[in-house]
Symmetry: C2
Subunit: 289 residues, 2 copies
Amino acid sequence: MHERPVNWMDNPNAERVKRVAQLAGRSAVRNRRQQFLAEGPQSATEAIRAHLGLLTLSPAAASFWPEHHTVAEVYYTPRLASTHPEIQALIARLGRNVFVAETSDEVLQAMSDAVVHQNIIAVINLPSGGEAPSPEAQLVAGLIRVQDPGNAGTIIRAADAAGADCVLATTQTVDVYNPKTVRSTAGSLFHLPVYTNVDLAQFIQDYQGQVLAADGYGDVMLDQADRSLLTEPTAWLFGNEARGLNSRELKLATARVAVPLYGLAESLNVATAATICLYSSAMAQRNEP
Amino acid sequence: MHERPVNWMDNPNAERVKRVAQLAGRSAVRNRRQQFLAEGPQSATEAIRAHLGLLTLSPAAASFWPEHHTVAEVYYTPRLASTHPEIQALIARLGRNVFVAETSDEVLQAMSDAVVHQNIIAVINLPSGGEAPSPEAQLVAGLIRVQDPGNAGTIIRAADAAGADCVLATTQTVDVYNPKTVRSTAGSLFHLPVYTNVDLAQFIQDYQGQVLAADGYGDVMLDQADRSLLTEPTAWLFGNEARGLNSRELKLATARVAVPLYGLAESLNVATAATICLYSSAMAQRNEP
């Protein structure tokens, strides 16, 4: 007697399903395969729009970003058609070299990092080559040993909202392609170049603007700073949650800037401080008389 | 034969342990008992400092806040003495009407909402009476049907950091005394008055300053606003994560203000937007020429 063969699309234990799920795990797997996951309608939509060239990047971002992420595979459940018909239309525009398949609920859950899957998962290829932040960028967000995936994602989203040209992350920073970070960028990961494993000293040597260290103990208060400090091209450095920036990193900066604490709070979460710093620069730069 | 009696301090199933744990659950329990939990060294420290009158409140916060939270019970494990000796010193200053006890690891875990307990849990009494935000407040953060506990906590922490005089929350807002919110305020819950179940229309009728609705579709851009919009006494309204503020709430506001989105991000998380709005007002108000 033969067992009835089970199609992989219904089999949570199929090799293909396992391979996708592995991308939600350790960063070593993502690095080796140069792929990561975009889970849920928001992330998947922005990934597919980037792939199809439908995003209107700022001229700066476009010039700094020679090669985007591309979509390798898309998996979705039948329910997506009713909850997000607009994504179906985007999926239909993907070419033949993107693997697209409808799967069962169980299979999508087996692929997913989330407690409850969100009906779509895309496998994304990392961009290759040209991986250095531009020395001419007007506004840069630097993740310097930031460890919490949610904080890294929130800063990438704030950098996008503030119109930053790019984000850079140093070696010891959390992997920005882990599912928690991707999710908390809410699609912004696909909106601007994010350079990883950046050599900070080399970047600062090449960078033509000023480098501002966000530092609770900084001697320049953000609200007391000369306006020129906020209007000049700027790379902000945001440090580790517990230890901040180290002395070597602080020395590389043009100035150490503190967000004022007017109440009794002893500190700000790094993502909150980063948001205030990036927006202070962005609003000043864009409204320069 | 008799069983050896088990002291409640070693018994995770003791009635006292269950009563504490219940405060981490449904808001109905907290409302009925008018108590909530401060878990972990940071929250517990700030709660105890508030109880002991060791916080130097701003004159405004002090005048608006006739009665603080008080500490009813404190439970900690033997490990606290080595990890946080400074809290032990604070605990020693608590009077006899505060119940203080060292417990086993198992008991503290049974009391805790966290996956891994943090060696200390305090039961806090809500302040009673005088529960209306002052019409004279310089800066107010309004939580209007905000649903996510982490967002509510982050906004309370940002309001504290920005030196707001108080926070108000309307009826349909998440319970600010749930453990996730308390945790994400990082102690700020004990730094400024947080008024719950506020009647928004009544507050706005009484309030002497302007009311600004944070609204992604607002017609005033934060970076284009007249400086006077930021220097005047202000109550900010922050709405529901999915639906924002409703038309009735928007009509109650003096102006609808949008945080500019310079990049490709379609929106900001409400806590991020709130941080930018509160800090924009605070920095302008405090640096008025």
